[in-house]
Symmetry: C2
Subunit: 449 residues, 2 copies
């Protein structure tokens, strides 16, 4: 919901050219809240307000706008006047933003950057999405190991404004190789002995990420070690970037949403649900819905094989949905448990045998429970008590088929290098529908003929 | 996988009473890694190693053990000797840990705490799970607004060891009410004017959480404002706790896993998948599997009503699974999209009308696509081309039913105060199975008789 509280006031101040008022507005609140209150303004109006803040504050407020608004803003003014603002943003935000605007606009903006800044952006944009390189930014504190605590604090004070975080300071040698890390906390504590060199204070076992690491691994490290930030190095162990707590939090939240979409057979959305057009959304849903639909043709072919049998034993039909949905549900449970365990690093493909045994056991237990309940229902619906046995027998087998297929398929996918989450709910359910039909009718024919 | 690299060495050092070696081991690495290397030791062996570290390092290393191992450790020695170690841990970790051990052991350990520490623990453990109070801890920096920058830095240096974070410092008045926040960065930058009072440096618009806030809202604030930590206040705006980036990251990761479980109709696990016993897991799965199973009885009753019709038009049977799985898949997509949008704060119950219109449109588009493909298949399988029309007609209606039910049910649940994620995949699919059967056969009878 757009916050319209300040809009009338802001428009009034713009109309009256109330510079003091607008400057006050820009600096009064946290940039994220300032951005929030500006949501309803047109790009021209928004620039009119931002003009009253210094360049780096402009960049900060801009970085809190929704992406599509940032893009509108960048395209509302000539590249030359927009570039200085973008230049104040941190490199990872620059990369993301310039990746969204028109290519020509991005090039023109980049052309206005300093050589160093432009090089940083180009290098960062080359990293593959989902790797540490694609999340990291380049504004981290690099201190020489020869500095004393006091000197380090002084250098820090000077640089503080431009750094992503001053709380973890990376200690490097003359070649830029990462040698250690020292926290501002450590420096502050060491001020009582101000002549100590960083090389004596620093922690040499630095938990770090490699620029090509998967973002899941980066998350795991940061979560396990409670890290505020993690340094990123290249193959030669040279310090090339930093990933901070806020960026990894954004990654986790986004990943969780993407996992949820994929588990429902929806291509992950780029924008929010309400902001994605019906046509785009239909495409993202339609492609997988169609795949599943065609896959379900197999159930039609399978039932066709048994059509004459079903004509002979018509009461069997009424249990078809019950049987296949129960198999699908148990398979879905197994798939979700295994995929979640794989994602959290709590299990690996090597555990397949243990997992299979456990799932077999659970399939048996759950199958017997469902079979018991199913038997009660079937006794009311089948012509003879003996023929009712078809239902519980099928249920046990179908639930076991569900747990086995549901647990093994994600492991197989992971083994061959695919994302196990692709083999989730709808696909597992579709496969088990097929097995369920065949099992049900084979059991029926076996018992009743 | 247990890291066994150091185990032989550690056991040798224990056997030989190599104090220097063990002390070196405890202090050499990040406590999390030290804990990792100690994973394979028995509780007695582990205590033997930890005895060579000072109390607060013992507590730190202990806090990185898996929960069930921490519990083993606490129960392996008398409460009086364990209490001093637990006392060094941060209050939120104490609360979580003491909540896991036997009640009697927890009481005995608490009895050894100082009055203040014990009060903190008891107060924190009273907060309902899922609220800010249940996540927060109490070791935050509280500085008086009358201190100068220099005095604040001095006080910080003194307290630094005991604080959860020294990077955000909360400025309070004499009653403990939160008046502002100042970052160590700000203090460091202000050192050039060391006589400035905190009241002049501090930010008075402090983004904060209330102790009863839902953890989702806390996460939203921390993610939106890129906060390293958020202060928690009570109703009188008194500062009572702090939630740091690492704790909220843990919450997010845990929440994502719980959402995934619930969406598959599994009661969320307390332990990891492999560590949860087959019986416990069967219970967590069985309860919902049974609910869904009984719900699916309705499909049996529905098909019974149409049993004679199916005997008259037997070829209809082969399309039943195709029809109901397509409806279920489209409903699952809608439910997931809406639930995710609600969770991320991108949509609310008030948007129901917009959502319904969009879902109706998508249901039509997707339904027509599926209908087209279904028509092609049906032409091959039905006795006459005209009768084949039953299938595409049903598919359009069933997909629309899916999108409407799938999107509206989570909204209804949220409206009446329930977790919308409860109305997810398996339940939506079950409901649509029922609708699908009824729609299919009604359409068939309409067109063919």
């Amino acid at each position: 919901m757009i916050n319209t509280l300040y809009l009338p006031e802001l428009r009034e101040m713009l109309a009256e050219n109330d510079s003091d008022g607008l400057r006050e507005f820009c600096t009064a609140l946290h940039p994220a809240r300032t951005a929030e209150f500006m949501e309803g303004l047109s790009p021209e109006e928004a620039w009119g307000v931002l003009d009253h803040a210094d360049l780096s504050l402009q960049g900060e407020i801009l970085s809190y706008f929704d992406y599509h608004r940032q893009v509108e803003m960048l395209e509302a003014r000539p590249p030359e006047s927009v570039a200085p603002v973008v230049a104040t943003m941190s490199a990872d935000d620059q990369v993301d933003l310039l990746g969204e605007v028109e290519e020509e606009t991005a090039e023109q903006i980049l052309a206005c950057f300093s050589v160093d800044d432009r090089r940083d952006v180009l290098r960062l944009s080359n990293y593959e999405e989902g790797t540490a390189g694609a999340i990291m930014t380049t504004e981290m504190a690099r201190l020489s190991e020869n500095l004393t605590a006091r000197e380090a604090l002084k250098e820090l004070t000077d640089q503080a404004e431009h750094l992503e975080t001053i709380y973890y300071l990376y200690v490097v040698d003359d070649f830029g190789s990462l040698h250690g890390v020292v926290s501002t906390r450590d420096i502050v504590s060491a001020l009582s002995k101000p002549q100590k060199h960083l090389s004596e204070i620093m922690e040499t076992e630095v938990i770090h990420a490699n620029v090509l690491d998967d973002q899941e691994d980066v998350l795991r490290k940061m979560a396990d070690y409670d890290l505020l930030a993690i340094p990123v190095v290249d193959e030669e162990l040279r310090l090339v970037g930093i990933i901070t707590h806020d960026d990894i939090l954004d990654v986790v939240v986004e990943e969780a949403a993407e996992d949820a979409y994929r588990a429902a057979a929806v291509e992950p959305l780029e924008e929010t649900y309400l902001r994605t057009s019906v046509l785009t959304l239909s495409r993202k849903r339609g492609v997988w819905l169609a795949v599943l639909f065609v896959g379900a043709f197999l159930t039609t072919f399978a039932l066709e094989q048994f059509e004459s049998d079903l004509e002979r034993i018509p009461w069997l039909v009424i249990f078809i949905p019950l049987v296949i949905s129960t198999g699908g549900n148990s398979g879905n449970q197994s798939a979700t448990l295994v995929i979640t365990a794989l994602n959290k690093g709590e299990a690996s493909v090597r555990d397949w045998w243990i997992i299979m045994r456990r799932e077999l056991a659970m399939g048996l237990i759950l199958g017997l429970i469902m079979a018991f309940m199913g038997m009660l229902l079937a006794l009311f619906k089948s012509p003879t008590p003996y023929s009712a046995l078809v239902v519980p027998t099928t249920l046990v087998l179908v639930v076991i088929a569900g747990t086995l297929i549901g647990s093994m398929l994600p492991l197989m996918f992971k083994k061959i290098g695919l994302d196990p989450a692709l083999m989730s709910n709808p696909f597992v359910a579709g496969l088990i529908d097929l097995f369920g039909i065949v099992i049900y009718l084979k059991v029926a024919l076996l018992l009743l003929e």
